[in-house]
Symmetry: D2
Subunit: 430 residues, 4 copies
Amino acid sequence: MTHTDTAGVSGIYDRRESAARSYCRNFPTEFVKAKNATMTDASGRDYIDFLAGCSSLNYGHNDADMQKALVDYITADGVTHGLDMHTNAKTAFLEAFETHILKPRGMDHKIMMTGPTGTNAVEAAMKLARKVTGRHNIIAFTNGFHGMTLGALGATGNAGKRGGAGMPIPGVTHLPYEGAFGADVDTLAQIEMMLDNPSSGIDAPAAFMLEPVQGEGGLNAASAEWIKGIAALAKRHGALLILDDIQSGIGRTGTFFSFEEMGVVPDLIPLAKSLSGMGLPFAALLIRPEYDVWKPAEHNGTFRGNNHAFITARVAIEKFWADDTLQNAVKEKAKVLNQRLVEIASAVPGATLKGRGMMQGVDVGSGETASAICATCFEHGLIIETSGAHDEVVKILAPLTIPMEQLKAGLDILETATRAHAPKHKIAAE
Amino acid sequence: MTHTDTAGVSGIYDRRESAARSYCRNFPTEFVKAKNATMTDASGRDYIDFLAGCSSLNYGHNDADMQKALVDYITADGVTHGLDMHTNAKTAFLEAFETHILKPRGMDHKIMMTGPTGTNAVEAAMKLARKVTGRHNIIAFTNGFHGMTLGALGATGNAGKRGGAGMPIPGVTHLPYEGAFGADVDTLAQIEMMLDNPSSGIDAPAAFMLEPVQGEGGLNAASAEWIKGIAALAKRHGALLILDDIQSGIGRTGTFFSFEEMGVVPDLIPLAKSLSGMGLPFAALLIRPEYDVWKPAEHNGTFRGNNHAFITARVAIEKFWADDTLQNAVKEKAKVLNQRLVEIASAVPGATLKGRGMMQGVDVGSGETASAICATCFEHGLIIETSGAHDEVVKILAPLTIPMEQLKAGLDILETATRAHAPKHKIAAE
Amino acid sequence: MTHTDTAGVSGIYDRRESAARSYCRNFPTEFVKAKNATMTDASGRDYIDFLAGCSSLNYGHNDADMQKALVDYITADGVTHGLDMHTNAKTAFLEAFETHILKPRGMDHKIMMTGPTGTNAVEAAMKLARKVTGRHNIIAFTNGFHGMTLGALGATGNAGKRGGAGMPIPGVTHLPYEGAFGADVDTLAQIEMMLDNPSSGIDAPAAFMLEPVQGEGGLNAASAEWIKGIAALAKRHGALLILDDIQSGIGRTGTFFSFEEMGVVPDLIPLAKSLSGMGLPFAALLIRPEYDVWKPAEHNGTFRGNNHAFITARVAIEKFWADDTLQNAVKEKAKVLNQRLVEIASAVPGATLKGRGMMQGVDVGSGETASAICATCFEHGLIIETSGAHDEVVKILAPLTIPMEQLKAGLDILETATRAHAPKHKIAAE
Amino acid sequence: MTHTDTAGVSGIYDRRESAARSYCRNFPTEFVKAKNATMTDASGRDYIDFLAGCSSLNYGHNDADMQKALVDYITADGVTHGLDMHTNAKTAFLEAFETHILKPRGMDHKIMMTGPTGTNAVEAAMKLARKVTGRHNIIAFTNGFHGMTLGALGATGNAGKRGGAGMPIPGVTHLPYEGAFGADVDTLAQIEMMLDNPSSGIDAPAAFMLEPVQGEGGLNAASAEWIKGIAALAKRHGALLILDDIQSGIGRTGTFFSFEEMGVVPDLIPLAKSLSGMGLPFAALLIRPEYDVWKPAEHNGTFRGNNHAFITARVAIEKFWADDTLQNAVKEKAKVLNQRLVEIASAVPGATLKGRGMMQGVDVGSGETASAICATCFEHGLIIETSGAHDEVVKILAPLTIPMEQLKAGLDILETATRAHAPKHKIAAE
């Protein structure tokens, strides 16, 4: 294999890749290897990965068991692409998912293999909610991010991304997430008033769709009370509850689903990112059986049912979810993470902690500060990104499997960079 | 790995997979191996594959060179998931694509890594056309299929699929494809009249989007004249030309792009299906450089840039497109295919041939007949599917790499099944 | 009452009236009186009126019987505004409409008082068709004009007008009217193929909506066969038939409804323009009783039920539709009109006759020629306007009650102006 | 003129008028005469009118001066219908409007003659805001009512009315009006946060559109501070301010415009209802000159420019707005109204006063109570209606010109009816 010696920024990318490319601009090097929480570039330099494919690599890069199972499957001429035909890879995945994920949690959801992207699982959820209810209106929330295809984009809050549509996107109402107006304002009560007012202009909802922790929106973590309130409101108004666990699920907050200790059972659950375990494209929609009213192929897609992903996803489930070892380790690391972030935040006047579990960060008050911190981190060997409406949150999404020492090492780099860029005084709200 | 002995129809799928599943209903067995044009089920039975992942496996299942390169990459801890960061796998793919695909064809398109599904590449194309022109209206065509997410679904003709949206999808006008009203009606002239009439109700177009051969729509193959006419019309009206080569591209019709002997250069070209070479999820949008006006991340996605797919796609390009061996072989097989289909069609009163290259089929006059033929084929070891608005076309999408003898063996099965189900008299149009 | 001496173009209008004003630009004078087919300006000059409020004055200006009845009603303190409460004026109108219009034609339609504008009656029709069928798609036609509010605008073909919406207007499909592709192309057969093809991209129709003669669209008059074909197609597809008789109805083509000799009974019939008889704002929607599924006030409006209009409309019905005197006179005048237009058209190479009844005109091949002709007519005392997608049709909409001599005098002016501006050679299609 | 003796409910209406009819159901008699605040039915019974055509008859029924001017105009063969051509009636109206309305208030707005319905003026405003800004999103408010045609309906809050559209209506966001969440919640601050948050999902606004007092929505009267806040927010976000004064304007709150003492000058002002003075269909849109970017006829309509309405509107302006007699009288009556409503409200546990000026009412806690009160009023000779999301507000919209004694007599009837139906205990919020 040939490659450019001058990493990334040079030649072929400028010449041939669309201007839409983005992460490579902040991390201008060419990566050639990756293992658990370490990425290595063409010059041999190692980086600690606190981005983890935006939570697509909860089990780290290239888990050895997944690698082995996948190599064995390929070597044995296992079916790589089979549309949605039955394969032994798929059978085994479904059985593992049933045994280790659904059954222990008392869930009887159906699994829909959507196209292998989060946005496709979200589109399927939106279509299904509309079909089930005969209504069009999906209630989405401020700072929500659900994807970039037209339907999902309608439910995404970001103005820059929405602008890409080039036209108004019908069928979605955006209401304030918990805390959107500050800690003092009970947005749930207001949403309830809006929904109960027959002259509010809010059309009868097909579904409420939200992320239990908003990954792109600034690591806003809704409380169990608030989500239960939304669930109750949805039920009362004949709407489905869609909890988009694409970024917050698969162990990221400490449990497989981010909501499982909240006392709610969503009707529809889009999953993607870390579902395959190894970062392979894979997405699914979990559907309460009574709402699985699809006709065959009513929503389909060429790559639904990525067999390679079935292999690695099965290994991930059997390895990490058959007992509570991972969960306990995540709790331990989350505690450390939280303690260190408290210290780090204290270096920035007005900074606040965001998120929960291994999905935490620091709101440093401005996008400029946050970007400067991340850039300095990269210079010192740490891959880390911002989040939030103004990119004002420095976001830690380290692999759940990161060794404790490496986690601390990364946090050391972050602390130094934060202190270097911390403004002297609190920055006024943008 | 465990698996169900009783293939497919049993247990876990009924219990757990959503009712949306489809192909597995027509091919009720569990596949465990696949090589080139042969799939093998759990009972050890071999099937000839005339479906090839709906043209996602143009180079057959599990090409040995791709397998080897991919296993080597995995074993070396190559980056599996890196968002859209630079990797050696990506660099090499881009260089191969530039060297063997773009340059020889005199094309200077940019490559946009969209989410790894065809529908995502189409959504990106539609958004970009709207952004470039400041207009919303995409002209799509009867019997077109472009995907299932809301934007692409708007451009898809199929009523059952469109119904899944649960609401009107704005921003698309559907006009008649070549031949939509029979061979005698010049739809190009009519489209021109509609576009030139300022009171036609057709809003100024952002783009014309069409498949050079309509895969799902019944293997309708537009002529070079017609497509050139559409290209000229698009130019005159300030609209972009989007040729969706997701199913018809990557060699399926005999050349890499299905349109390359037509004298048109599309502004935007969505690619997917066989792009990865081995059936891995992968999609891209080719963009004329002057229209690459994306802001960074204006359209993004977690799995854009599937590194495993970069590896196999590079091998595919270097192996099959550095010289004309494959193209010559395809021409040879397409000729045989055509001759045999003429014979087969002659068994069915009123049947007609559809498509071109290795994307041909027979319109047998009704969906019932076509389905019965395909079901009998499967009983005799041939995987084959229908296509068309009424599922009335038996469609052959064998791997381009299928050995001639196996191609003929498959066609023998098809011929027998067709003769068994051929109606005595011509069926009236549905 | 004060007024500006310098008619129209001066002072107050430039200073205060919005740039949206239009007709006053072509007829730059201030009118102060009008009787039957004559308008008189502030300087005392008389004009023959071949525009008649765009067919809102089919009985001419200020019919003496209507004037008297209206003055009596006002003088007696009759209810001017009563929302949709019962009044003696409304009762009498409804009884007259039932007796002289509905019963003799064997129609049992309900009468809905919509807001007093044609566009409001059209909006009501579109909403009702969607409610009755549970579908959203209204099939409208090339060159159709149905109004300027968002719903009706969606069904209007004119690009300039549609552009005013500032966004895509969902829920309408525009298909070719009879003759849209020339006399040789059977658009009905094509529409049928589009509707019968489940992959055409045309969503199942709630209604087909069309004008039997397209007033703004160029006086295109559909044949009985074509309209019957559309009616049959609507029925077969479970869609309603809406015949918009706003401009073509109320005697304009020789019968009260323009379609009554065609053998079709529309499900919904929007009426406006000449319905009040004297040019007062008034509109209604006729609804087959089985489709009158409105809930009270589900569509409402402050000025529905204009009592002054009820008074004049009743007089108009009783005076003109109790016997066939008017109809016979219209036939006579239409014949003369047609004969003269044949002569006039012969002066313009390539010119063609358009329309039927007292709704005829000449396509002179270009908007420039047509505008020049109309401007010259105005200089010589004739008010006349253009029509058509390119404003290429000189349109005669004289009051039905115009004296024969005045009709001929107007046509003399038109003939002279046409000869003055007739191009020497046929103009190529724009 | 014939009429039914048995008023209203009988024969012809059941037989012929659409089920959409509404007010006639609550006031089941046939009216034959009306003068100022008195309506008289066919049996000779008089009713006090506290509905006044939903504020279309601010100067009462059949003002003698308007009657005379109109009869004179008709008798003189004044132009009744002239599209938007200049007439002496129009000239005089424009001059009076400029002299007595615009100039004294320091306004230089252009006047656009829209179709003669409020909804048409609103549609024109929405289209123009979109055109001026190149954006699609209109911010409307809870409990707002702006009309029933598709565009205006999108901005109307009422679910029942919205449902009539039969599909999602794009391009409008509904946000909470002042007080929507109770007196303690500062909705302005929240709206500001939503607009300032680039990830709120609220697209950049073309305009903010609201009624200074919500007529249909329950007589909610926004404060000057709140409206000034919205005006400032609109300016900061590059959006237009549309104050819909259709029901609240033309003196209803004590000044010609309802906002003129608030220190804001709206960019666009839709007017209708009482604009003609006598209840004739008439609407207009006032446009700040810099935003009057219409092309000729870009928004048009047959009945724009109702000459009869020009006559009566001019008389109304000259008679009532040349000095402050009317305004002083309104203030006086509003005071009396307020005092009496305080008493009346005290009879109902939990009742609250709503509105301002001559647009006040009592929220009696439930639609059942309010309807019962209004029905009893009608039995005792008072025409009065409900308002509000749950029809829970008894609304007084007496003519501004009602004699003080008659106002008091009407309030006596209302008080008696209210006491008769007052619940013993406060009703819990619906």
